[in-house]
Amino acid sequence: MADATLDAKGLNCPLPILKAKKALKDLENGQVLEIVATDPGAVKDFEAFCRATGNKLLGSGEEDGIFSFQIERVV
């Protein structure tokens, strides 16, 4: 269960990343942000974002063109 959710549907690069970064800042270490997006580019970008920032991509999925990501904040 996520501690916060971010609706990034309809937003294009780099807005999902920028908004996710902002939302993660409001979370504490170990809390989870759930993101929903429609930008197919976000799939690779969230993987890269998590690798570079050390935040943990717990999972991701796609259903009917809606992508979802669960990211755990790692401080």
Partner: protein, 168 residues
Amino acid sequence: MADAGMDLGNAKKMTIICTKGSLDWAYPPFILGTTAAAMDVEVTMFFTFYGLTLLEKDLKLQVTSLGNPAMSMPMMGGHMAMPNMVGMIPGVTSGATMMMKNLIKKKGVASIEELREAAVLSDVRMIACQMTLDLFEKDKADMIDGIEIGGAATWMESALESDINLYM
């Protein structure tokens, strides 16, 4: 910790020299600058020549088909080429700008104002070129708050300690 990514920490730095002030060319530096900042990179952007206009409070950015043979706009399921020549006709530049801005909105692409605000909020260091201010008789009062004024040596100092230096 293996899970903690590439451990970029705060050590990584990037500079971008922004030299162009058209609507289309305003995107690459602000997209990469804000994204890098979101990935914990310390970013310095140096605005010189036409790029200086990107710091003005009131942005009036335009896009032109002149000298831009690759420009083709999606239209009614196809693409409309923008012949170089028509760019000379009065009104075509503002028409192309309006078309581009509509597309930007429709496709959920950020406005330059939005990206610039994100850059300010994520502590991107923005330096306006003193020489350009003098050359084009621009006033710092017309620029957004929070910027610095500097010259080539100011950028150079940042560039020397940066991992990535881009010129756009």
